[in-house]
Symmetry: C2
Subunit: 223 residues, 2 copies
DNA sequence: TTTCTGCAAACTGTTAACGGTTTTCCGTTA
DNA sequence: TAACGGAAAACCGTTAACAGTTTGCAGAAA
């Protein structure tokens, strides 16, 4: 039994289901909801002081993000990732980010490139000393990349993987599976290609980078 | 004002929302619901003889598929595709099917290859004489490709694009934007690479094929 | 005529209750 | 002791009603 927290910015025009999804997502990320654990709609509804309707919406959204699995007429359960899942997420993510890098290289959007470099700087500052900050800007780099591609459907697809990507990045850093400096160099290669307008190289570099995180994690996360 | 039809196989264990989604999807495909038209939950609910709950589920699903757009507190509207949308769909579809072809080439799943060739045969039979049958097996070819890749998330992503892909394939055929024989040859190139286990070539061929449909359609559909 | 203002109708977001299926638990039997 | 069966509780899918916001329209003002 755990306590879910309703986020601060309530009573705005945002559907209640969004807050519910945020709360449950945080609980899964934080680890207070464990894999295979059952999520009962009515229990969550009463913990969050709302009715089952918005909670159902939230669970649908989290299922879309891959954090939970809904079994019709049975219930909703927190996902458990096996090696195949990690492989799927990293390969899917890789082609999405690869295509995004290609689009961005073609667009020559200077403001976006600046943002990417801000992320690189923040990552350099954080280094190995502040892994969480490093990971935060690592994720922000990738989000900026896909968002600035101007490809809305691509961004939506990526956004649905975001939380699982975050888990990957976080664990890679906390588990010291790869040096911070090496990670940053990968990102720099991508930015260089984008700045040069080299679409093929941008795609290759982004895809290779994202895909390479998979094998590193397979042993670590499924341990 | 149009009439929506509840599909035959009712009163089974399938959520009502699925039937509602099927009915609305058909109406959009058939053209009785036009782009920008507003979809009112209560109106659909009474036409389908059910309550707003399942209808809301259905609209969420159709929004995921890109057939409608939900504006919070405003309502749900049938999507209107512009050139950017067509470009987005064909490029996204292309990297998905490309990765699927790569996975399938590696798996060497003979049963799947057989299914692909059955589709090719059916397409050859239909030729230019039966465009709808040709398009049906064209779609089935691509669905089989992605499904047999064994990459579940890839298939889910593809499935969410399915209806729009179907629209593309159907219009390409009905508008005679490309010869049936040429289309079949494209598919054969993909199958050859998969049978040879040439992952790189399978990916290249599948991606190129899917992406090439975009520019052909841009003029036609947004006319 | 055109623009503004306020009211009424309509619609979405949310809630609470119902019905039927699934799960759990306990007593019985082998 | 272990396996089975059935009743009771729990829970999901669905429905109907409520509340607040948005939209559309009618009449007033310019």
């Amino acid at each position: 039994m755990i306590t879910l927290h309703l986020h601060k910015s309530d009573l705005v025009g945002v559907p209640l289901g969004h807050h519910a999804a945020d709360s449950i997502r945080d609980a899964i990320l934080q680890g207070s909801l464990r894999p295979d654990e059952r999520l009962v709609e009515s229990a969550i509804a009463s913990q969050l002081n709302l009715s089952r309707g918005p909670v159902r919406d939230a669970l649908r959204q989290l299922a879309l993000e891959g954090l939970v699995v809904i079994v019709p007429r049975r219930g909703t359960f927190v996902s458990r990732l096996d090696r195949a899942d990690i492989r799927e997420i990293s390969t899917l993510r890789a082609v999405i980010e690869g295509l995004a890098a290609r689009f961005l290289a073609v667009r020559r959007d200077q403001a976006a490139v600046d943002q990417l470099e801000e992320c690189l700087n923040a990552m350099a500052e954080a280094g190995d000393a502040d892994p969480v900050r490093f990971a935060t800007f690592d994720l922000k780099f990738h989000e900026t990349l896909v968002r600035a591609s101007g490809h809305r459907r691509l961004y939506h697809s990526w956004a649905n993987l975001r939380t699982q990507i975050w888990m990957f990045i976080r664990e890679t850093r906390l588990g010291n599976l790869r040096s911070a400096e090496g990670t940053r160099e990968f990102h720099q290669t991508i930015v260089r290609a984008i700045r040069a307008g080299d679409a093929a190289e941008a795609e290759r570099a982004a895809r290779h980078h994202s895909e390479s995180t998979g094998p590193e994690l397979e042993d670590y996360l499924t341990r």
